[in-house]
């Protein structure tokens, strides 16, 4: 099994990116490429559904940080959902939960990202 696999699907205006596995200095380039491709395609509202993300190091956090200003300049955002306990601990320890909106699950995130959407 690869250390990291990434799938992307579009739900309305929201690009849902699902990283599965481990994001570290070895795999971060793939993660960065996936994020950058979304931004290049003009998909500025991005939800990172982390239900299958076992682990993220500072390399992965840096990839997210590197794009947050760009997406917000285009009235988009990067949302987070389904964080496993250890992944949440990393974001929270560094204060990133103040910078990003974190949701319990994808449905909650969608309801926030797409006003008027139910469930």
């Amino acid at each position: 099994m690869a250390d990291l696999s990434i799938s992307v699907r579009q739900v309305g205006d929201v690009a849902v990116l699902l990283p599965a596995g481990f994001i570290n200095a070895h795999t971060v380039r793939d993660f960065e490429d996936a994020l950058e491709k979304l931004v290049q395609d003009g998909r500025y509202v991005i939800l990172l559904n982390c239900k299958d993300l076992n682990y993220i190091s500072s390399a992965g956090l840096g990839a997210i940080m590197g794009l947050i200003e760009t997406v917000r300049e285009h009235e988009g955002d990067i949302l987070l959902s389904n964080l496993q306990e250890n992944v949440f601990a990393i974001f929270d320890t560094l204060g990133f939960t103040q910078l990003y909106r974190v949701f319990g699950d994808e449905e909650q995130a969608m309801a926030e990202a797409i006003p008027g959407r139910k469930g």
Binding site: N24, Y55, A63, E85, L94
Partner: protein
């Protein structure tokens, strides 16, 4: 299991990070830490070894990184040795998370995670061997 220890030597390549962090997590559980603490040790070791590979060795993959795990009754110690560029503890400046959030940028978070997730982080240089060391200590509560 008093003062047990063992060593692992890996090439300075990021493809082995997952192997090392998996080992660190398992070692933490063996030492008596809970799942949450073991995950934090795992991240700290990832950051330390990544620093060695990317910064001490400048991304060159033909060097070695040596890890030693020491189990004592009080703590799990992880010693990481390398022959690349060393840093001293007094050279370290940890980023302020609040300032970081106001002015986001890439990099600079690894040392902060190490310091937050471990009880002690030490950087040393051994003048005899010429090796540099990063020592991570997690106390067993």
């Amino acid at each position: 299991m008093d003062h047990a220890q063992f060593r692992l030597i890996i090439p300075s390549q990021t493809r082995y990070l997952n192997l090392v962090t998996g080992l660190a997590k398992r070692a933490s559980l063996v030492a008596g830490l809970d799942d949450a603490a073991a995950a934090k040790v795992s991240i700290a070791v990832d950051e330390a070894v990544t620093n060695v590979i990317l910064h001490a060795y400048g991304g060159e993959g033909e060097h070695s990184v040596e890890l030693e795990l020491r189990f004592t009754e009080q703590a799990l110690e992880i010693h990481i040795w390398h022959s690349g560029l060393g840093i001293r503890g007094d050279q370290l400046v940890l980023p302020d998370p609040k300032e970081y959030i106001k002015h986001p940028r890439k990099g600079g978070l690894g040392l902060l995670l190490m310091s937050r997730f471990m009880d002690e982080v030490q950087f040393k240089a051994d003048e005899v061997s010429g090796l540099n060391e990063c020592c991570l200590i997690k106390k067993i509560s």
